[in-house]
């Protein structure tokens, strides 16, 4: 596309292309025409579609490493490659609010703590993986770890709504299942970028991180 190319606002072709385009390589003018003039609903729907698309990767955990590598390297999946932080932000806010609402005392402490643990924990795990020699970009890894908190979110919301019907052991089972689901979701991504001999030591921090987050959900 040249500099003078005027894209008519609201054309179907334009909107169809908006979904899978790598914005980093687009012309400055074109970017402004794309996102500033379209209706707000379009922007929101596009972002929501992006988030749901990535969540589908979390909901069906890709156990095989080859698929994890494909997730990392595939040129067609531009959005996963770029990595966005909207999904992790929404999920962490939801988790922190759910856990905070349910505690009678110090709800603001718990909100702040969950928030910090999620973002700080993701950052620490990513730095750990980089220090051990993995080739991963910082934001991509934080994005994946954030999205994989989704099952723990589901467990927290479930336990909130069914509080009086669930005994301790049933809660344990639900939270345990959510924890295992989260760990397996992020496993294929994380282990695909480390050497054979360093896989366990780079996955162990993820295990600890999700266990720490799931532990909060049992005692709501």
């Amino acid at each position: 596309m040249t500099d003078n190319h005027q894209v008519p606002f609201g054309s179907g072709m334009f909107q169809g292309q908006a979904k899978f385009v790598d914005y980093a390589h687009m012309n400055q003018q074109e970017v402004q025409v794309n996102t500033l003039d379209e209706p707000v609903m379009d922007t929101l729907l596009r972002d929501i579609n992006m988030i749901l698309y990535k969540l589908s990767y979390v909901i069906i955990p890709r156990m095989k490493e080859t698929q994890g590598r494909k997730l990392r390297n595939c040129k067609r999946l531009d959005q996963i490659k770029i990595g966005d932080l909207w999904g992790p932000l929404l999920l962490s806010l939801l988790l922190a609010m759910t856990l905070g609402i349910n505690s009678n005392q110090s709800s603001d402490t718990i909100f702040g703590t969950i928030f910090i643990i999620m973002w700080g924990g993701s950052a620490v795990i990513t730095v750990n993986a980089k220090l051990l020699g993995g080739q991963v970009s910082f934001f991509q890894s934080v994005c994946v770890l954030g999205y994989c908190v989704f099952p723990i979110n589901v467990a927290a919301v479930l336990i909130t709504f069914l509080q009086s019907y669930l005994g301790f052991f049933l809660r344990l089972i639900i939270v345990g299942a959510a924890f295992l689901w989260s760990t397996f979701s992020s496993l294929s991504f994380m282990s695909s970028m480390m050497n054979e001999e360093k896989k366990v030591i780079s996955v162990y921090p993820i295990f600890l991180f999700y266990m720490f987050l799931s532990w909060f959900c049992i005692f709501i």
Binding site: N104, Q105, T113, L131, K198, V200, I201, P205
Partner: protein, 270 residues
Amino acid sequence: MLDNLNQDVSILQPSLQMTDSQVQNRIRQMKMEDPDDQTCYQRFCNLFTIEYYREYFDVTTDLVIAKVVNAFNPFSGTFFDIGGGIPELYGPFWILNTLIFTTALSVNIIKYMQLQPGEHFEYQFQIVPILTIFMYLKTLIVPMIYRVALKCVSQDRLTLLHCFTIYGYSAVVMIPISLLNSIPNPAIQWMLLVYVLFAQTSFLTSNFNQELKYLPKEKKYMIVGLVAVVQITIMILYKFYFFSSINYQQLGLVKKRTTTHLLSHILGAN
């Protein structure tokens, strides 16, 4: 430049070898002495790159597991023979975090078990930041004390990083003990405490002993005594702050009062 490198390597004792990344770091340091070669960023901001710290994380799974298994054995004294005795920070850091998690877990389990039949369980969360600060300070300060003591008896083979490594790995014994501490029987808790004290102190002293073999008796006993005293202090603090029942009631009471006070204040103001 290569001659200098060989000289450096030969100063080290045979059991303490250099890894590839350490050699590369040394070469880079020597290169940096020539200012024309390096940009300003590389000269001053090297501290902020990840590559600078990579030599401290040069581990594999087998190495970490071997070191952890060795740490459970208080008498072998072979810790520095594993993997060439290279200091690393991966083990200490993650063992520390695991320990914080298991202690917080165990404190909450004790509180849960002390619950009266009609009460709703409140997750005792304030313990986590306090625990974090306690554990991190302990892991930072105690190896420095050891290093200073070793320097006083003019032992220069073990650097500060070696002290960090061995102290971090010696804390592995505390992980299962902190989980078992959730059993509310005070006799069991005290027995576990004594066991941890004994295990950690003898692990540390038997490993330092390998290096201290050639010193006169008084200096050796001084180091051993220092290690034991520091460990006893830390264990007593740990037990009495985190695992005493009086503390929970205090914390519980204080929080309840604040909440009702605030509520009545808000309601009264309306």
